[in-house]
């Protein structure tokens, strides 16, 4: 389903080149739940950005459903991105929209009917327990509520893949467990999940495939791994 082939990504910091990823290759099968782990700066976020075509690789190719992600024409990029749901590390909720509108936005851009939007957003709000906060703006929500709103937005349009970049970074242990349980449930329903995290408790609870990055390189790729940093 997803294939990273010999990916190297070098950022230019002034005249100094910084290697974020070096010769990274791995495959993701449909309905897999993969955790990408590593310390800060290991290259986890870069990997997700490359899959979302937010960044271009310095060398190598990324395939999503047999199409080279970085050869998609700019005018078609939005259609490709609709296949992917993203939970951003910094939430990236639209500040001028309410919780309801933030979640509904993804369905609106896809041209869903008002009726569909109303029904689906209500369901997802219920799942993430934000029904009573639906008219609040992001700045009025707590960190955990924002995180859940971001997850709801990633789920709403039933994407084939969900990329979750440190989705529990700002949550207390109770909400962390809830979010992971939610992602696992979504995965069981058939959605592929790629989770970037450095929270070892999550990984150990999940007991799913774990790819460990260090200094931009894959140092381990294990099925049902337990993990220590």
């Amino acid at each position: 389903m997803i294939s990273f082939q010999n990916i190297t990504k070098i950022y230019q910091l002034g005249s100094k080149p910084i290697t974020a990823l070096e010769n990274v290759s791995f495959e993701v099968e449909p309905q897999e739940f993969i955790s990408i782990v590593g310390r800060s700066g290991a290259g986890k976020t870069t990997l997700l950005k490359l899959l979302l075509a937010e960044e271009k690789p310095s060398s190598g190719v990324v395939f999503f459903l047999d199409q080279n992600v970085h050869q998609i024409k700019p005018e078609n990029l939005h259609k490709f991105r609709r296949e992917i749901g993203v939970v951003f590390q910094d939430y990236k909720l639209l500040p001028s929209k309410t919780t309801y509108e933030n979640i509904a936005y993804v369905m609106e851009v896809m041209g869903a009917s008002d009726e569909e939007i109303k029904n689906d957003v209500a369901k997802v709000l219920d799942i993430v327990e934000l029904t009573d906060r639906k008219d609040s703006f992001p700045e009025e929500l707590s960190g955990g509520e924002r995180q859940r709103a971001a997850i709801a937005r990633a789920l709403i349009h039933r994407p084939q893949v969900i990329l979750a970049d440190e989705p529990t970074g700002n949550l207390d242990p109770y909400h962390t467990k809830e979010i992971i349980r939610l992602l696992a449930k979504v995965n069981e329903m058939g959605t592929t999940i790629i989770l970037a995290t450095h929270n070892q408790d999550i990984i150990n609870t999940l007991e799913k495939r774990v790819i460990t990055l260090e200094g931009g390189k894959i140092i381990r790729d294990e099925a049902k791994a337990r993990f220590t940093l």
Binding site: P95, V106, E108
Partner: protein, 303 residues
């Protein structure tokens, strides 16, 4: 689906406009200033045209004849002069009419009247008063008179005496026009740049929001639409405010301006050109709002 999307874009634009109240008010304020400037330039053009025309109306040249020409000669001369494209109006004044006007003008001035009696008879010459369309055209008419077929009948042309005054007027009107055009262009550019920058700053604040919209799969059209709607709403409101302010200002100030510049009729000009002014303002306001939004958003959609 297209109409549903269009409806969503309008709704989203209107919501953002309301929710970003402070920024929207600032944008409208700057646009009101810009549209006011454009409207002022339009009205000042009318005022300067009026001033130039009234000054030019006061200038003419006269051709004096050696002796009273025959009716046939007058007709030929008038025909030849009327054939010139520079000539706007001709008026023949016979010796008798000239004397009658002279007497009327100097009634009560004993010295002048006594001098006239002493000279005896009618010392004045018959003449033709010529009015050109523009002050700059008198030189061409004068040149024509120098080579005209009826030249032997001409005693004098008063162009040479009036030439300095005419040239001064010509230079003045030409300066007013040039200065007006240059000033208008500079002010319009400054105003447009300020309005453009205000909209750009407003959209710059939404830079990250635009980036997020792209990442969650919104098309460029869906992202751009609400910003264009916001620009349009700002433009329309700015036009309405400016039009209201100008209507009230012209209504109250017009009588006072008419005292300073009699016959200008700014109020009747403004209200009789109601549609033109409104369209001009709409073009400036809405065009500016939409164009500025389009260009500012485009920058963040390119990446």
């Amino acid at each position: 689906m297209i109409s549903a999307t269009f409806k969503r874009i309008i709704k989203s634009g209107w919501k953002s406009f309301r929710r970003n109240g402070g920024l929207s008010i600032a944008t409208i304020f700057i646009m009101v200033m810009t549209i006011s400037l454009v409207t002022s330039l339009f009205l000042s053009q009318k005022t300067s045209d009026f001033l130039i025309t009234s000054l030019e109306e006061k200038v003419d040249m006269a051709v004096y004849f050696t002796e009273e020409p025959t009716n046939e000669e007058i007709l030929t001369i008038q025909e030849e002069l009327a054939g010139l494209p520079e000539v706007k109006k001709l008026e023949y004044i016979s010796k008798e009419e000239a004397l009658a006007k002279f007497v009327e003008r100097h009634q009560g001035e004993a010295v002048i009247m006594e001098s006239l009696e002493e000279v005896g008879g009618n010392p004045l010459l018959s003449s033709i008063n010529i009015k050109a369309w523009e002050a700059s055209q008198y030189a061409a008419i004068s040149a024509f008179l120098d080579t005209a077929s009826f030249r032997p009948l001409i005693a004098k042309v008063d162009y040479s005496q009036k030439k300095p005054a005419i040239e001064k007027l010509f230079s003045l009107t030409s300066n007013i026009n040039t200065t007006g055009i240059v000033l208008s262009i500079i002010l319009a550019i400054v105003a447009i740049l300020i309005a453009f920058n205000t909209v750009r700053i407003a959209i710059y604040n939404s830079k990250e929001e635009i980036e997020t919209m792209r990442l969650v799969g919104a098309s460029n059209r869906f992202i751009r639409g609400p910003f264009l709607v916001q620009g349009m709403i700002s433009g329309i409101l700015a036009v309405l405010i400016t039009f209201l302010v100008f209507s009230v200002a012209v209504w109250f100030l017009s009588p006072k301006i008419d005292i300073i510049i009699p016959g200008l009729g700014l109020s009747s000009y403004f209200f009789s050109n109601f549609l033109v002014i409104l369209l001009l303002q709409l073009a400036a306001g809405v065009g500016l709002g939409v164009m500025a939004s389009f260009l500012a958003v485009r920058k963040y959609l390119k990446a």
